[in-house]
Amino acid sequence: MILSVQDVVKTYGDYLAVNHVSLDMQKGCVFGMLGPNGAGKTSLIRMITTITAPDSGVIYLDGQKLHARSPEQIGYMPEERGLYKKMKVGEQLLYLAQLKGLTKAQALQEIDHWLTKFNIKDWWDKKVEDLSKGMQQKIQFIATVLHKPKLLILDEPFTGLDPINTTLIKDEIAQLNASGISIIFSTHRMEQVEEMCDHIVLINKGKNVLYGEVSAIKNEYKKNLFQIETPDPMPADLSERFVLLRAEKNTHTFQLSDEFMSNDLLKLLLQKGIRITRFEEILPTFNEIFIQRVAETEAG
């Protein structure tokens, strides 16, 4: 277990930001933290990164309670990006790496590795304010991973990046994960979660309202929707047995009562000689799950 959050509570004055949240994260996972603005994601992240301390509850990092040197094992890229504008790139990366516990020699080695990897070695002497926003974010990313953290926490990492740089960073994240680094993504962009995460936690109003493996959750929330693509018209008598939800051009969406009926539908269509170009189960998007779950928790 890389991270264990146990019954954590955080209040700011009278405001209850985090309300008895618990979650466990296995090593090597890519964990998605979802939730609307003001849900408590950032407050929770700040407790994990030791920026603030919980009012009650405990957080364990790699089996140990959080302590003064825990930040050296965590890399955190906050949503509010920021670097010292007037400092030079090389100097700043060195400073930030040393604050994470690296020696000067180690830091220089890592900086060289990353600048070479991104092909930006000539940026060493450039002031951060002279770089474009996208370039600054690359530097910020490097600063986050420079000290080879065990746990990487990325808050909205792709905001403001163009498609090329987004792909670049995604690839880097995948590589880091492949090398054993555990990753937490915090975002309200659900489609990113579906692409990259294997586990998620859904936070709403300071509470953990949904938590588990992505595929398991999707299965739990699926509605037995099946989509068929065919150039041929649908037989009229189909709707007696199978509920047709939508028909757009060549795409027909059916809601079946249980998953075994999908084979029956397929058999029937084949019998009728319908040409099938695509047949797939439509799993719910996290957007849909999210909305449903929030409604459930607010009602219940």
Binding site: R46, T50, I51, P78, E80, G82, L83, Q98, L99
Partner: protein, 441 residues
């Protein structure tokens, strides 16, 4: 290297490398250098530009006149005024000085005539007038058969020697008060200026971090308290560096320039005096100068310097931490948050005002005693009073309170800072800031 040291180092190097710091540090010594060169230049210039003046002493009152600086007096001998004027035209002389006989001994005003087409420089003119007046005085004394020695007895030089009733005040002279004021005044001004300037530097640095949004990245690596202390200590070291540089460079300039230019202190004093007022006797200046030097060396320098350092550190930590707390609440809210800076700047300005208005009149007044003990004012007020030997118990109490207050304010600021730096968008009031001290960590 510990994280705190890394932060201090970064804060220090970033500021010391700035052009504004380098220029500001060099400004004082360069200014002093220019001033000294001008003074020396002026005096050398005077020395080189000598004029030859023939003295037509019609009543034989003044000749022979000794040469002055820049003026060679040549007795006219048997030559007439017209002959002398011709010599001026032929450039053999610069001018002719005609001294008519005294019409009336009792008359104070006496006119002498200078014939030349070149304008006589004001300081040479004054010099000549002074020398002639002196000579005429001697002539009158001789004519009236007055005893020069007896006349000198009439002069008295009065000076007040302060004597204590309860305490020993031996060794004091009329210069004590003046020198005390000067020393105290300089320390007060320096402290006020340094604390205000470097305190505000801390505030701006804190605000910059909020505006840059780097705060959260920093917070995930270091404790807020360490970041705040790193800034305060770093900026303080920059301030000390600047003061030390000023003292060393200015001292070097004062010592080397006269050496290089082949000048010695007394004659430079003369030229500085001549530049000011030719009526002042250089001998008197030397005497006063030496008395002042003696008075300065009488000052209890170890105590003064030690106290200066303690009050600078104490006052700086009190105010810099207040500025850090205010800066953390303001962030990018530059315009509207100005009111928040008042609790930090007002006491400092008030202290300076009290010392400059009331302190110099009476260093031991009730107001000054209070101000030198109350910890928000004492870093400015007590160093001033130290030049006047205040009671030791007041000094001890003041020092203890300053140190305790510094610790308290640093702690308080730390509590406010750790909440403030992560707070964005909300308009902050002092009441809000006070609440933050009670937020859990």
């Amino acid at each position: 290297m510990s994280k705190l040291s890394l932060i201090i180092r970064r804060e220090y190097i970033t500021r010391v490398r700035k052009k504004s710091f380098i220029i500001g540090t060099l400004l004082a010594p360069v200014g002093l250098l220019v001033y000294m060169l001008v003074i020396i230049g002026l005096s050398s210039y005077q020395g080189g530009d000598e004029i030859k003046v023939a003295v037509l002493d019609e009543a034989r009152m003044v000749n022979p006149l000794p040469d002055e600086q820049g003026v060679r007096f040549i007795p006219s001998g048997s030559k007439t005024l017209e002959q002398l004027k011709t010599e001026v035209t032929e450039k053999k002389l610069n001018g002719v000085l005609r001294i008519p006989a005294l019409g009336n001994f009792k008359q104070k005003e006496h006119t002498i005539f200078y014939y030349s087409d070149d304008k006589l420089a004001p300081e040479k003119s004054k010099l000549i007038e002074k020398r002639i007046a002196q000579k005429i005085r001697e002539f009158k004394m001789d004519s009236l058969q007055m005893d020069a020695a007896q006349l000198k007895l009439l002069e008295s030089d009065v000076s007040i020697d302060p004597e204590g009733i309860k305490s020993e005040q031996d060794g004091q002279s009329k210069y004590t008060a003046g020198v005390g004021l000067a020393v105290g005044g300089i320390m007060t001004f320096l402290l006020f200026f340094m604390v205000l300037m470097y305190g505000q530097m801390v505030m701006k640095s804190v605000m910059e971090e909020k505006t840059n949004r780097i705060v959260e990245v920093m917070m995930s690596s270091v404790r807020p308290f360490d970041l705040m202390m790193g800034k305060i200590i770093g900026a303080g070291l920059v301030g000390l560096t600047q003061v030390v540089a000023w003292v060393v460079l200015s001292g070097a300039v004062s010592f080397l320039v006269p050496l290089v230019m082949g000048f010695n202190a007394p004659s430079m004093q003369d030229s500085m005096a001549a530049a000011g007022d030719a009526n002042v006797d250089p001998a008197m200046i030397q005497d006063t100068g030496m008395r002042i030097m003696a008075e300065l060396s009488n000052q209890n320098w170890p105590l003064l310097i030690g106290a200066f350092i303690v009050y600078f550190l104490g006052g700086y930590f009190i105010y810099a931490s207040m500025f850090a707390a205010v800066g953390s609440a303001m962030g990018d809210d530059l315009g509207e948050g100005q009111a928040l800076t008042l609790p930090a700047t007002l006491p400092l300005i008030l202290a300076f005002y009290i010392v400059s208005m009331a302190g110099w009149r009476n260093p031991d007044s009730g107001l000054m005693v209070f101000s030198s003990i109350f910890p928000l004012f004492s870093p400015i007020a007590m160093p001033f009073r130290l030049a006047f030997n205040p009671p030791w118990w007041q000094v001890a109490l003041s020092l203890a309170l300053v140190v305790a207050s510094a610790v308290f304010f640093v702690w308080l600021a730390g509590r406010i800072y750790r909440v403030g730096i992560l707070m964005y968008g909300k308009k902050v009031t002092l009441k809000e800031m006070w609440k933050w001290t009670f937020y859990k960590g």
